[in-house]
């Protein structure tokens, strides 16, 4: 039995309801919500941008896993690993395997990682404002994409990193997971967006936006969709409250940013947060009151490695099991991350510390309530 496959079968408990005191929002806040001066949204989709129509080619093939790399070592202990694992001794089972670079990437040299180097029709935003090429100056030089809509200069180095990972390709594991909206429906938290009208009208005006992580999960309806107009309390840890950032709504499109944001997720065996810098939003405002678009920003590469590898079921670290399922080696990704990084050069070394990343998202109206009783409320 491939013990690693257990990973995708195990779901985390998502009942993480908050215990906030019950103090109703103030009249002013309710009135502001009713007048649409402040609108709240809860995310109903969150997915890495996977270019389904034109994902590009991987002429060097796809990345391998530790299970492939250490095939002989795995084969020699496979039966005992299964025996110990099935007996509940998960730590004991893992001890038999080669040293785990997902727990400590320093235990082995760089095994190599195949980057995506061709062209693909990705979605996203020209974050750095230039049409970058690999021939450009500096360590952060990178090749931009041309978007599905023909927009040049799109920055999406995450696809450079993961474009040749089987589990990230169209219909791969990640794609299937996002199709079932597990990042939303099985998440112990939700992502919230508040838009406050500063001037103009709600269809054409200047706005101020904020991103939050909620204190608890979304509420599902009978068809496994997120219930609109539900109240969501913001997480009490201010680390998960972004600063206000400027934006506008024009011709039915909402754009905003940049802003740094930390957004918490607890999905399956992942209990972590994303750390994005200079995040921007571009979304189409929909007739039903929702929106659909992209978040594009620079994902801190240390945080990205942690997010990909810090996978636990109870006390058992299963980062390597996840990597085996998705199709990469942690050591390979660890060493590849600085190569694809294209943002936020370290002032001392000049090395880039973040990689451009695109998240496809959708959101519907919700009421956003700040955690402190009696505090202000963002509304739908």
């Amino acid at each position: 039995m491939k013990y690693a496959t257990l990973f995708v079968l195990l779901l985390c408990v998502t009942g993480c309801g908050d215990k906030s005191a019950s103090v109703a929002p103030t009249d002013e806040v309710v009135a502001a919500a009713a007048e649409d001066k402040v609108r709240g949204f809860v995310f109903t989709q969150w997915a890495y941008d996977i270019p389904r129509e034109d994902p590009g080619e991987c002429p060097e093939g796809f990345n391998i896993t530790d299970e492939d790399f250490f095939s002989e070592e795995y084969a020699s202990v496979r039966e005992e690993v299964s025996r110990r694992y099935n007996a509940g001794d998960r730590e004991g089972a893992l001890e038999l395997l080669p040293e785990d670079a997902c727990r400590d990437p320093g235990v082995m040299p760089d095994p190599g990682h195949i980057l995506f180097e061709g062209s693909a029709s990705v979605d996203g935003i020209n974050l750095d404002g230039i049409d970058s090429t690999l021939a450009g100056a500096g360590q952060c030089a990178h090749e931009d994409f041309v978007s599905v809509n023909g927009e040049a200069g799109v920055d999406n180095q995450y696809w450079r990193l993961m474009g040749c990972v089987k589990g990230m390709r169209p219909d791969g594991l990640f794609d299937r997971l996002f199709d079932t909206k597990s990042t939303i429906l099985e998440n112990g938290y939700s992502t919230l967006l508040e838009i406050k009208l500063v001037s103009g009208t709600k269809t054409n005006g200047k706005v101020e936006a904020r991103l939050f992580t909620s204190a608890g999960p979304v509420t599902k309806d009978a068809n496994d969709n997120v219930v609109p107009d539900m109240s969501q309390i913001v997480h009490e840890d201010r680390m998960f409250h972004s600063a206000a950032f400027p934006g506008q709504i024009k011709d039915g499109v909402f754009t905003a940013g940049p802003v740094d944001a930390k957004l918490k997720f607890k999905v399956q065996a992942i209990d972590n947060y994303y750390y994005f810098r200079d995040l921007r939003i571009r979304a189409e405002m929909l007739p039903d009151g929702g929106m659909k678009g992209v978040l594009a920003g620079y994902w801190d590469i240390e945080n990205a490695f942690d997010f990909l590898t810090e996978v636990y079921i109870g006390p058992v670290h299963l980062g390597r099991a996840a990597a085996n399922n998705i199709g990469y080696q942690c050591a390979g990704v660890y060493h590849a991350l600085p190569r694809v990084a294209d943002g936020h050069p370290d002032p001392q070394t000049g090395a880039c510390t973040s990689m451009s990343t695109v998240i496809q998202f959708a959101a519907i109206p919700a009421f956003i309530i700040m955690p402190e009783a009696g505090s202000e409320v963002a509304a739908r």
């Binding site: 103090v23 806040v29 219930v227 109240s231 509304a379």
Partner: protein
């Protein structure tokens, strides 16, 4: 306005003089015998044995008459299968009370030998619980019969507790427990040869079920047992005590659950394809929301009854917040919300409970809503729909030109046989079309703006808020409450002779700023509430009641007066 001019003048004079108008000396109508409702049964078990004893089982369905189950309760019997259910429930209760886990806590004594009968201990148990269950002191015959039955069973099964269970079940299936039987004694007055006065114990039960929806407490039983409750001053004192009790909330909730047809929630279902956010929790919250809203306004705040139709303040849960479109901080519990001024949603008529109940599984229904408003809140009668109606034109069809309920009803109402009723129900029902089949706010249907304007008995309104105000201002609404509450209290329709009392109660209700508790007090202390009229076909000397006549002081069986106690009975 239905108040006769002379009464209105009298009421005005009374107000000017700063004194209350006198209760017209009206004798009550016929006696009633009512089956306990499921809720009353549960309350009785809780009062006798505590909340840890569960009532498991289904009761026979209630019988709604003239809009009230309270009236139907006086017109029902217990069927053989219903009796079996009562017996099964009674056995379950007796099993719990005598179980090793609860017996030490609940029973007042232990048997000398658990494997044998113990008459002394059985007597203590029967006396302890019998007074509460039968709502009166037990007679010696009551006690001895149960001791004998328990002893026989205990000796046969060599188990004291098996015998005790027989005694307990016998009380739990006793007609005097399952039915509230009114007993009275002749008290003729000039011109009223058939006048009766309720016995103290009957008056105690009638009072406590009206105000608390449960049996009398020890204090009320003690007053009744002393024979003092029928004295007007004592009665008024007890009524005031009961109105100040926390149990009043149970009584007010029970009345409004009945008159608002909330038992329909038990079978409420929605098309989740149409309303995916609907679930049983949301329905339960909607029901509870309206009851809490009523209790908060009418009991806690002692507010004017008419404010129910105009108030923007109401209890809210998070799931209902998604229906009402307002933020809610409480995760699991309740909080008080104030509806925004720019929302058309105001007052009772816009509650999600009504929108859910008076709608079809997949769509709203202006007609069902209109019928409910006319019948429950205005006390008007709308005939049943003819059996041969063609509904095809009314069913929503996005391909048809009839996009809104108003369009479809207009077509439907072209049939003369339909128009005469729909002209009464639809204008007000269409005024609530901003609320879909679960109460969520909407301004369009099939992309077409919804027109919620209309006419309510000569008063124009532009939408639900103005419709609510029109209800608040309509004297028929408060008069209907008076009529329904009186009927609820006495368990039957008012007689012709009681109609002046209703006019008096309406005037007094107005004088008391439409406070519900003042109206309840007026009814409870009225002459009609504590008296009755013997039905002509029941000769005075004939005992009709199943309740033996008892001396109020001792509780022992004895004829009262020169004849016998007359009990009421309805079919």
């Amino acid at each position: 306005m239905r108040i006769p001019s002379t009464l209105a003048v009298a009421a005005l004079i009374a107000v000017l003089l700063g004194c209350e108008a006198a209760d017209p000396t009206v004798t009550g109508g016929p006696l009633a015998m009512r089956r306990l409702t499921a809720e009353q049964y549960r309350n009785a078990i809780e009062d006798a044995f505590g909340s840890q004893v569960e009532v498991a089982g289904r009761f026979e369905p209630d019988n709604r008459r003239e809009g009230l189950n309270a009236l139907g309760a006086a017109m029902v019997a217990v069927t053989p299968s219903g009796f079996e259910q009562y017996e099964a429930i009674g056995r379950s209760i007796a099993d719990q009370v005598t179980s090793p886990e609860l017996r030490e806590q609940l029973l007042p004594c232990q048997p000398d030998t658990p494997s044998a009968a113990d008459a002394a201990c059985t007597e203590q148990v029967v006396r302890k619980f019998g007074r509460s269950l039968l709502r009166r002191p037990l007679t010696e015959e009551d006690v001895q019969a149960r001791i004998e039955a328990a002893s026989l069973a205990a000796e046969t099964q060599q188990d004291f507790y098996a015998g005790l269970r027989v005694a307990l079940v016998s009380m739990l299936v006793a007609p005097e427990f399952l039915f509230r039987v009114e007993a009275a004694q002749p008290a003729p007055s000039p011109g009223q040869e058939n006048r009766l006065e309720l016995t103290n114990l009957s008056l105690a039960s009638k009072l406590s079920y009206f105000l608390w929806n449960r049996g009398p407490d020890d204090a009320l039983l003690a007053v009744a047992q002393r024979g003092e409750l029928t004295q007007p001053a004592v009665l008024a004192r007890e009524v005031d005590r009961m109105l100040a009790s926390e149990y009043l909330v149970d009584g007010v909730r029970a009345y409004f659950e009945d008159v608002l047809l909330f038992d329909k929630f038990d079978n409420l279902s929605k098309d989740v394809g149409q309303y995916p956010i609907f679930n049983n929790r949301m329905a339960a919250d909607a029901r509870e929301q309206t009851l809490r809203f009523i209790v908060d306004h009418l009991v806690a705040q002692q507010a004017d009854y008419r404010t129910l139709f105009t108030s923007r303040t109401l209890p809210m849960t998070r799931s209902l917040g998604a229906v009402y479109g307002i933020p809610v901080r409480a995760v699991d519990g309740w909080e008080t919300a104030v509806l925004p001024q720019n929302q058309p949603r105001v007052g009772l008529l816009s509650h999600a409970s009504f929108a859910m109940l008076f709608a079809h599984p997949g769509r709203s229904s202006p007609t069902l809503r209109g019928v409910f408003l006319r019948e429950a809140l205005l006390c008007q009668s709308i005939p049943e729909a003819p059996a041969d109606i063609d509904f095809t034109q009314f069913v929503a069809d996005v391909n048809a030109v009839h996009n809104t309920a108003r369009d479809r009803l207009d077509v439907h109402s072209t049939q003369a046989s339909c128009r005469k009723c729909h002209v009464l129900t639809d204008p007000i029902g269409l005024g609530l079309e901003n609320f879909d089949g679960i109460g969520k706010l909407r301004t369009t249907e099939n992309g077409v703006p919804i027109d919620t304007s209309g006419d309510f008995d000569g008063r124009d309104f532009s939408g639900p808020a103005e419709l609510g105000q029109a209800f608040a201002d309509n004297p028929l609404v408060s008069a209907c409450l008076v009529q329904n509450l009186y009927r609820y209290a006495v368990g039957r329709e008012e007689t012709r002779g009681e109609r002046p009392l209703l006019r008096y109660l309406e005037a007094s209700f107005e004088q008391n700023s439409y406070k519900l508790t003042a109206l309840m007090r007026d009814i409870a202390v009225s002459e009609a509430f504590r008296t009755a009229t013997a039905e002509p076909q029941s000769p005075p000397e004939q005992v009709v009641s199943s309740e033996p006549a008892r001396d109020a002081e001792t509780g022992s069986s004895a004829a009262v007066g020169d004849a016998a106690t007359i009990g009421g009975k309805s079919t």
